[in-house]
Protein backbone atom coordinates (compact mmCIF):
# COMPACT_ATOMS: atom_id res chain seq x y z
CA UNK A 1 0.00 0.00 0.00
CA UNK A 2 2.73 2.44 0.96
CA UNK A 3 4.59 1.37 -2.15
CA UNK A 4 1.63 2.27 -4.31
CA UNK A 5 1.29 5.69 -2.71
CA UNK A 6 4.98 6.34 -3.32
CA UNK A 7 4.63 5.19 -6.91
CA UNK A 8 1.67 7.50 -7.53
CA UNK A 9 3.49 10.47 -6.02
CA UNK A 10 6.57 9.82 -8.18
CA UNK A 11 4.43 9.27 -11.29
CA UNK A 12 2.55 12.52 -10.76
CA UNK A 13 5.81 14.39 -10.15
CA UNK A 14 7.31 12.95 -13.35
CA UNK A 15 4.30 13.66 -15.53
CA UNK A 16 3.63 17.20 -14.24
CA UNK A 17 7.23 18.35 -14.18
CA UNK A 18 8.19 16.85 -17.53
CA UNK A 19 5.29 18.68 -19.16
CA UNK A 20 6.19 21.89 -17.30
CA UNK A 21 9.81 21.45 -18.30
CA UNK A 22 9.05 21.43 -22.01
CA UNK A 23 6.44 24.20 -21.84
CA UNK A 24 7.97 26.74 -19.44
CA UNK A 25 9.10 29.95 -21.12
CA UNK A 26 11.96 30.62 -18.71
CA UNK A 27 14.91 28.38 -19.47
CA UNK A 28 16.35 28.25 -15.95
CA UNK A 29 12.98 27.18 -14.60
CA UNK A 30 12.68 24.46 -17.18
CA UNK A 31 16.12 23.18 -16.14
CA UNK A 32 14.93 23.05 -12.53
CA UNK A 33 11.81 21.12 -13.52
CA UNK A 34 14.05 18.70 -15.44
CA UNK A 35 16.06 18.20 -12.25
CA UNK A 36 12.86 17.22 -10.40
CA UNK A 37 12.01 14.74 -13.16
CA UNK A 38 15.46 13.15 -12.93
CA UNK A 39 15.22 12.86 -9.14
CA UNK A 40 11.79 11.25 -9.38
CA UNK A 41 13.19 8.81 -11.93
CA UNK A 42 15.87 7.89 -9.42
CA UNK A 43 13.03 7.27 -6.96
CA UNK A 44 11.43 4.86 -9.47
CA UNK A 45 14.70 2.93 -9.74
CA UNK A 46 14.82 2.65 -5.96
CA UNK A 47 11.21 1.48 -5.93
CA UNK A 48 12.11 -1.24 -8.44
CA UNK A 49 14.94 -2.35 -6.18
CA UNK A 50 18.00 -1.21 -8.12
CA UNK A 51 19.86 0.73 -5.47
CA UNK A 52 23.05 1.01 -7.50
CA UNK A 53 21.20 2.52 -10.46
CA UNK A 54 19.56 4.95 -8.04
CA UNK A 55 23.01 6.11 -6.92
CA UNK A 56 24.27 6.36 -10.50
CA UNK A 57 21.23 8.38 -11.56
CA UNK A 58 21.56 10.81 -8.66
CA UNK A 59 25.29 11.32 -8.98
CA UNK A 60 25.60 11.42 -12.78
CA UNK A 61 22.34 13.00 -13.87
CA UNK A 62 21.20 15.14 -10.97
CA UNK A 63 24.70 15.91 -9.79
CA UNK A 64 26.80 16.15 -12.92
CA UNK A 65 24.69 16.83 -15.99
CA UNK A 66 22.33 19.31 -14.34
CA UNK A 67 25.24 21.39 -13.01
CA UNK A 68 26.62 21.45 -16.56
CA UNK A 69 23.25 22.59 -17.89
CA UNK A 70 22.80 25.31 -15.31
CA UNK A 71 26.32 26.61 -15.88
CA UNK A 72 25.80 26.78 -19.62
CA UNK A 73 22.39 28.41 -19.21
CA UNK A 74 23.93 31.09 -17.02
CA UNK A 75 26.73 31.54 -19.56
CA UNK A 76 24.51 31.89 -22.59
CA UNK A 77 21.48 33.82 -21.34
CA UNK A 78 20.65 36.62 -18.95
CA UNK A 79 18.65 36.14 -15.77
CA UNK A 80 14.93 36.45 -16.38
CA UNK A 81 15.31 35.94 -20.11
CA UNK A 82 12.22 34.49 -21.72
CA UNK A 83 12.33 32.11 -24.60
CA UNK A 84 11.50 33.46 -28.03
CA UNK A 85 7.86 32.93 -28.87
CA UNK A 86 7.25 30.18 -31.37
CA UNK A 87 4.63 30.30 -34.09
CA UNK A 88 1.30 28.64 -33.29
CA UNK A 89 1.62 26.42 -36.32
CA UNK A 90 4.83 24.88 -35.05
CA UNK A 91 3.43 24.40 -31.55
CA UNK A 92 0.33 22.81 -33.03
CA UNK A 93 2.35 20.42 -35.21
CA UNK A 94 4.60 19.45 -32.31
CA UNK A 95 1.56 18.83 -30.12
CA UNK A 96 -0.09 16.74 -32.81
CA UNK A 97 3.08 14.66 -33.26
CA UNK A 98 3.42 14.10 -29.52
CA UNK A 99 -0.24 13.21 -29.00
CA UNK A 100 -0.28 10.90 -32.02
CA UNK A 101 2.80 9.07 -30.77
CA UNK A 102 1.32 8.88 -27.29
CA UNK A 103 -1.88 7.41 -28.71
CA UNK A 104 -0.05 4.76 -30.75
CA UNK A 105 2.20 3.73 -27.86
CA UNK A 106 -0.68 3.78 -25.38
CA UNK A 107 -2.69 1.54 -27.68
CA UNK A 108 0.18 -0.91 -28.03
CA UNK A 109 0.82 -0.99 -24.27
CA UNK A 110 -2.89 -1.37 -23.47
CA UNK A 111 -3.32 -4.34 -25.80
CA UNK A 112 -0.08 -6.16 -25.15
CA UNK A 113 1.02 -5.61 -21.59
CA UNK A 114 -1.37 -8.17 -20.14
CA UNK A 115 0.11 -10.94 -22.26
CA UNK A 116 3.43 -10.85 -20.46
CA UNK A 117 4.07 -13.06 -17.49
CA UNK A 118 5.37 -10.97 -14.67
CA UNK A 119 8.03 -12.86 -12.81
CA UNK A 120 9.44 -11.39 -9.67
CA UNK A 121 12.75 -12.44 -8.22
CA UNK A 122 15.05 -11.19 -5.53
CA UNK A 123 16.77 -7.90 -6.20
CA UNK A 124 20.41 -8.05 -7.24
CA UNK A 125 22.77 -7.43 -4.40
CA UNK A 126 25.68 -5.05 -4.68
CA UNK A 127 28.05 -8.01 -4.72
CA UNK A 128 26.36 -9.51 -7.79
CA UNK A 129 26.43 -6.16 -9.57
CA UNK A 130 30.13 -5.78 -8.87
CA UNK A 131 30.87 -9.30 -10.11
CA UNK A 132 28.81 -8.78 -13.25
CA UNK A 133 30.51 -5.48 -13.97
CA UNK A 134 34.05 -6.75 -13.52
CA UNK A 135 33.87 -10.20 -15.10
CA UNK A 136 34.65 -11.47 -18.59
CA UNK A 137 32.35 -14.49 -18.72
CA UNK A 138 28.82 -14.80 -20.08
CA UNK A 139 26.48 -12.06 -18.78
CA UNK A 140 29.40 -10.08 -17.42
CA UNK A 141 30.27 -6.67 -18.64
CA UNK A 142 33.95 -5.80 -18.39
CA UNK A 143 34.31 -5.05 -22.12
CA UNK A 144 31.47 -2.49 -22.40
CA UNK A 145 32.67 -0.97 -19.13
CA UNK A 146 36.10 -0.39 -20.64
CA UNK A 147 34.54 0.85 -23.89
CA UNK A 148 32.56 3.42 -21.89
CA UNK A 149 35.71 4.54 -20.13
CA UNK A 150 37.50 5.05 -23.47
CA UNK A 151 34.44 6.96 -24.75
CA UNK A 152 34.49 9.22 -21.69
CA UNK A 153 38.20 9.89 -22.17
CA UNK A 154 37.57 10.78 -25.83
CA UNK A 155 34.76 13.12 -24.74
CA UNK A 156 36.96 14.85 -22.17
CA UNK A 157 39.63 15.48 -24.79
CA UNK A 158 37.05 16.49 -27.40
CA UNK A 159 35.29 18.86 -25.01
CA UNK A 160 38.55 20.58 -24.15
CA UNK A 161 39.53 20.82 -27.82
CA UNK A 162 36.16 22.26 -28.88
CA UNK A 163 35.66 24.74 -26.05
CA UNK A 164 39.17 26.09 -25.55
CA UNK A 165 40.05 29.64 -26.54
CA UNK A 166 42.06 30.04 -29.70
Amino acid sequence: MAEQIIFYVLAIVIVVFSILSVSSRRILRSATYLLFVLLATAGLYLLMGYQFLFGVQISVYAGGIMVLYIFSILLTSHAGDKAKSVSWKRLFLAGIAAIAGLAVCGHIIYHNVYKVVEAVAAEPTMQEIGKAMMGTEKNQYLLPFEAISVLLLACVIGGIMIARKR
Partner: protein, 104 residues
Protein backbone atom coordinates in the same frame (compact mmCIF):
# COMPACT_ATOMS: atom_id res chain seq x y z
CA UNK B 1 7.25 -6.82 -3.12
CA UNK B 2 5.87 -5.89 -6.48
CA UNK B 3 2.46 -4.32 -6.03
CA UNK B 4 2.88 -2.07 -9.03
CA UNK B 5 2.24 -3.59 -12.45
CA UNK B 6 4.58 -3.23 -15.39
CA UNK B 7 2.00 -1.08 -17.17
CA UNK B 8 2.37 1.68 -14.56
CA UNK B 9 6.05 2.17 -15.30
CA UNK B 10 5.45 1.95 -19.05
CA UNK B 11 2.73 4.61 -18.98
CA UNK B 12 4.86 7.01 -16.94
CA UNK B 13 7.83 6.57 -19.26
CA UNK B 14 5.67 6.93 -22.38
CA UNK B 15 4.26 10.25 -21.18
CA UNK B 16 7.77 11.42 -20.32
CA UNK B 17 9.08 10.37 -23.74
CA UNK B 18 6.41 12.22 -25.66
CA UNK B 19 6.78 15.32 -23.50
CA UNK B 20 10.40 15.15 -24.69
CA UNK B 21 9.27 14.77 -28.31
CA UNK B 22 7.01 17.81 -27.95
CA UNK B 23 9.85 19.89 -26.49
CA UNK B 24 12.26 18.70 -29.16
CA UNK B 25 9.93 19.80 -31.95
CA UNK B 26 8.63 23.04 -30.43
CA UNK B 27 11.70 24.61 -28.80
CA UNK B 28 14.13 26.97 -30.54
CA UNK B 29 16.86 27.25 -27.95
CA UNK B 30 19.60 24.62 -28.34
CA UNK B 31 19.88 24.04 -24.60
CA UNK B 32 16.18 23.33 -24.20
CA UNK B 33 16.32 20.98 -27.19
CA UNK B 34 19.13 19.14 -25.45
CA UNK B 35 17.07 18.99 -22.26
CA UNK B 36 14.16 17.44 -24.17
CA UNK B 37 16.60 14.86 -25.53
CA UNK B 38 17.60 14.13 -21.93
CA UNK B 39 13.94 13.49 -21.06
CA UNK B 40 13.63 11.00 -23.94
CA UNK B 41 16.81 9.14 -22.94
CA UNK B 42 15.61 8.97 -19.37
CA UNK B 43 12.26 7.51 -20.43
CA UNK B 44 14.09 4.82 -22.41
CA UNK B 45 16.20 4.01 -19.35
CA UNK B 46 13.07 3.55 -17.22
CA UNK B 47 11.75 1.13 -19.84
CA UNK B 48 14.96 -0.90 -19.85
CA UNK B 49 14.95 -1.23 -16.09
CA UNK B 50 11.23 -2.02 -15.86
CA UNK B 51 11.44 -4.74 -18.53
CA UNK B 52 14.48 -6.19 -16.81
CA UNK B 53 12.70 -6.33 -13.48
CA UNK B 54 9.41 -7.75 -14.68
CA UNK B 55 10.34 -9.96 -17.63
CA UNK B 56 13.88 -11.18 -16.95
CA UNK B 57 14.46 -11.23 -13.21
CA UNK B 58 17.69 -12.84 -12.20
CA UNK B 59 19.52 -11.28 -15.11
CA UNK B 60 20.93 -7.77 -15.08
CA UNK B 61 21.13 -6.91 -18.79
CA UNK B 62 18.54 -4.14 -18.70
CA UNK B 63 20.00 -2.49 -15.61
CA UNK B 64 23.47 -2.56 -17.14
CA UNK B 65 22.17 -1.20 -20.43
CA UNK B 66 20.52 1.68 -18.54
CA UNK B 67 23.76 2.31 -16.68
CA UNK B 68 25.78 2.46 -19.90
CA UNK B 69 23.10 4.65 -21.49
CA UNK B 70 23.50 7.09 -18.58
CA UNK B 71 27.25 7.12 -19.21
CA UNK B 72 26.85 7.69 -22.95
CA UNK B 73 24.34 10.48 -22.39
CA UNK B 74 26.71 12.19 -19.94
CA UNK B 75 29.45 12.11 -22.57
CA UNK B 76 27.06 13.33 -25.27
CA UNK B 77 25.84 16.20 -23.09
CA UNK B 78 29.39 17.33 -22.32
CA UNK B 79 30.33 17.45 -26.00
CA UNK B 80 27.05 19.10 -27.03
CA UNK B 81 27.40 21.82 -24.41
CA UNK B 82 30.99 22.46 -25.50
CA UNK B 83 29.75 22.90 -29.09
CA UNK B 84 26.87 25.15 -27.97
CA UNK B 85 29.19 27.39 -25.94
CA UNK B 86 31.52 27.61 -28.94
CA UNK B 87 28.61 28.64 -31.18
CA UNK B 88 27.55 31.23 -28.60
CA UNK B 89 31.07 32.62 -28.56
CA UNK B 90 31.02 33.02 -32.33
CA UNK B 91 27.57 34.37 -33.11
CA UNK B 92 26.23 35.46 -29.67
CA UNK B 93 23.06 33.44 -29.61
CA UNK B 94 21.98 29.81 -29.54
CA UNK B 95 18.66 29.79 -31.38
CA UNK B 96 18.60 27.05 -33.96
CA UNK B 97 16.92 29.18 -36.62
CA UNK B 98 19.63 31.83 -36.45
CA UNK B 99 22.57 29.47 -36.66
CA UNK B 100 22.93 29.40 -40.43
CA UNK B 101 26.47 30.58 -40.97
CA UNK B 102 27.76 27.17 -41.97
CA UNK B 103 24.88 26.58 -44.33
CA UNK B 104 26.49 27.54 -47.61
Amino acid sequence: MSNIPLAGYLIVSTIMFFAGVYGFLSRRNMLTILMSLELMLNAADINFVAFNKFLYPGQMDGAFFAMFAIGVSAAETAIAIAIIINIYRNIKNIYVDEVNKMKY
